[in-house]
């Protein structure tokens, strides 16, 4: 009876990589040490396959992924995180990942992180058919040819809303990784984990940018800055947790810097961004709703609907309840970085992308605030690292066998 229902549950899964047997065997699989040689070689092969595939070229996110997983890059990560401290480091065992539904390649980062830290991985991948997924999965399969020993460690599945599946996969997981927002986390948490199992949750977050106007105006290549900022925002419809929603200006030449910054960005956005008709109305609605709440807000004049900026007189907690996406920015002139205390004290505050000097922002963090997990240059806000969202993923996905 038990056996039956277990089979029934697994049969509801759509397997993109692996099959029912792969999942059934995962429990008794040998757990690897982090940065296992075979795994690193395997990923290097997959990277090479991706780089060689002409289809990858259309997708910068696939290329970035391939670059990140190649041996040279992985060894750098290993050097940063792995310490030969006389103890034995091992993966936690089986990692169950729930990837976000509308970011094409995130599932691969999550899975590879699980692999590199020594775990077997079951990943629920986006239900939407992104072409990137096909390209990456093909490379994953192709890599098995030279590294069959890695095959049992990867299982990529799709399934519709289903508590039974969530329950089952959670019950066998040693660690559960949930990407993609508060509602998803609440849903998945209805399925309980084993007492010793751990969990990493990536909740709803917001991010901002801090731009030093003097520094910015001193740069040679403002077009490049615009491209970086575009990649941080418009590339994901400004809706990734890392995408700046608010732009804070510091320094002495704010007005001048803004003019250059926004007009350079505007040219770039007009060229690259696929504008959808409803977006102008959405942003206008959001802006007016905010104006009702905050009588001193100003919607900056705009020649079109690609960039909508709202100048806010002060930064209050709750501002982000009025956030929108697809090119909708709050803007604030700042004379003292500590003015950001209230808004960055929110636990939802994640990344500060900066143009200028990170040192300028540190007093804010040192003032003892609850938000901000990352301070990275504009253009790098989406770059995935083992320290993400305030978590050390290496630590969370491994265990230490203490040897005295």
């Amino acid at each position: 009876m038990q056996q039956n229902s277990y089979n029934e549950i697994l049969n509801k899964l759509i397997f993109l990589v692996g099959d029912v047997e792969t999942i059934a065997a995962m429990g008794s699989l040998k757990t690897n040490q982090p940065f296992d040689k075979e795994i690193v070689e395997y990923l290097n092969d997959v990277s090479r396959i991706l780089m060689k595939n002409p289809a990858s070229r259309a997708y910068p996110d696939v290329i970035t992924l391939a670059f990140w997983m190649r041996k040279g890059s992985v060894e750098k990560i290993r050097d940063k995180f792995y310490r030969d401290d006389g103890n034995v480091h091992l993966g936690r065992g089986l990692a169950f990942h729930i990837a976000p539904s509308n970011v094409p390649v995130n599932y691969a980062y999550s899975m590879i992180t699980g692999l590199l830290t020594g775990n077997a991985n079951i990943v629920r991948i986006p239900s939407k058919d992104f072409p990137q997924i096909t390209i990456i999965n093909k490379a994953i399969e192709q890599g098995f040819k030279t590294h069959p020993e890695v095959k049992p460690y990867i299982c990529l599945v799709r399934y519709e809303k289903d508590f039974e599946i969530n329950d089952y996969l959670s019950s066998v997981a040693d660690v559960r990784v949930i990407w993609g927002g508060d509602k998803t986390i609440a849903e998945i948490r209805k399925s309980s984990l084993q007492p010793r199992s751990g969990e990493i949750t990536f909740a709803d977050r917001f991010s901002l940018a801090v731009i030093n106007s003097d520094y910015y105006l001193g740069l040679d290549n403002v077009d490049h800055v615009a491209e970086n900022f575009y990649n941080d925002t418009y590339m994901t419809d400004q809706n990734a947790c890392t995408s700046p929603r608010l732009v804070v200006w510091t320094g002495n030449k704010k007005a001048e810097a803004k003019k250059v910054f926004w007009s350079t960005l505007h040219k770039f956005v007009r060229k690259k961004y696929i504008f959808r008709p409803i977006q102008g109305i959405n942003k206008m609605t959001s802006a007016f709703l905010f104006a009702v709440e905050e009588p001193n807000a100003k919607i900056e004049p705009h020649e079109d609907n690609y960039i909508i900026r709202i100048r806010v007189p002060d930064l209050k907690d709750g501002l982000m309840e009025y956030k929108d996406n697809s090119g909708y920015f709050f803007e604030y002139d700042c004379d003292d970085i500590l003015e950001l205390r209230e808004i960055c004290n929110s636990k939802q505050c994640q990344t500060i992308g900066y143009i200028g000097n990170a040192e300028e922002i540190l007093p804010l963090v040192r003032s003892g605030i609850k938000g901000i997990d990352r301070i990275v240059p504009v253009g790098k806000t989406m770059d995935f690292e083992f320290i993400w969202d305030g978590y050390n993923l290496y630590e969370r996905l491994t265990r230490i066998v203490k040897v005295n």
């Binding site: 976000p100 539904s101 509308n102 970011v103 995130n106 986006p126 239900s127 809303k161 990407w179 993609g180 927002g181 508060d182 509602k183 998803t184 849903e187 998945i188 990536f202 709803d204 994901t236 419809d237 400004q238 809706n239 990734a240 947790c241 995408s243 504008f275 959808r276 008709p277 409803i278 977006q279 102008g280 109305i281 959405n282 206008m284 609605t285 802006a287 007016f288 709703l289 905010f290 104006a291 009702v292 009588p295 807000a297 100003k298 919607i299 004049p301 020649e303 079109d304 609907n305 690609y306 709202i310 996406n325 697809s326």
Partner: protein
Amino acid sequence: MKFEKFLQMQPYSLEKKEKEEILTERLIELTEMHRVNCLEYANMLRSIDYDRKEIRSYKDLPFLPVRLFKELSLKSIPQKEVVKTMTSSGTSGQAVSKIYLDKITSLNQQKTMVKIVSSFTGSSRMPMIILDCPSVIKNRQMFSARGAGILGFSIFGAKKIYAFDDDMKLDVDELRKFLNQYRGQTIFMFGFTFMVWQHFYKELLRLKNEGITFDFSNGVLIHGGGWKKLISEAVSPEEYHNRLKDVCGLDNIHDYYGMVEQTGCIYMQCECGHLHASIFSDVIMRRPEDFSECEIGEKGIIQVVSTIPESYPGHSLITEDEGILLGEDDCLCGRKGKYFKITGRLKDAEIRGCSDTYATKFI
């Protein structure tokens, strides 16, 4: 400028220049009036540095997204002067627009509608068949768009019957009796586009196949509410008309475009199949990227302006409908003003990113 002045004119009598002048004067006044009387509206105008002196034409006036009436309770009158609150028909769980009417605005809506509709049907009241069920208007406290439409058009009816029972079944006997009683007279018929098709046309077709026929060649049908549901059945406006004519001889059929946020100012379809703006209101097709005005023949998002709303700041709105301006002052039917067609509704953008945008679908 008082609204009465508009009521003294024929609804399709003004050419472009004259219409622009009186619309501009009236709509600037309304903007000013709502700025003074509606705090939320005043805040919105302040946020965009609205300056009356910069307005050359009503086309320069700010417009509010209709969705704001779902998010906010916008009114320019004290609560005690509210005589009616109209709501859009949303399915349960969806937010609905809330439109607050005082006596004047409510009355002007009615007068405007009479002027517009009677210019098509003639001014006398007619026996009326409501192609809906009686229960729709039972709850008088909250006027749904459907109920409001029926009540609004009921002023054209002398003797009225509902064609359907509360299970939306055609009441064949009553209908037969009614037609016999008013034989030879023009019968006024009103209903919602989809329901007329679903519960009237389809039932008549079924009956016809059984040998039971009705003659509605004396009827004039006005229907509205949109084509969304019929698009899935692949019924075009032309086919809609032709099939109705085939099944019961009904040939005098007018679609209309209108919305609860600007009740009264409906856009009637003429004999040439075009929707017409009356002197009481206007449409401006705007390009999605920058809200600039479209050329004739170019598809855009529909902005609507109405000279009626005094109790709520809804005199200039941008809808989520798309349409094409077909021409101005030169429709073959002879009516002045803009004529246009609706092409559909704006699609929701599928937004990327790692938040919960699609959580409900995904989980």
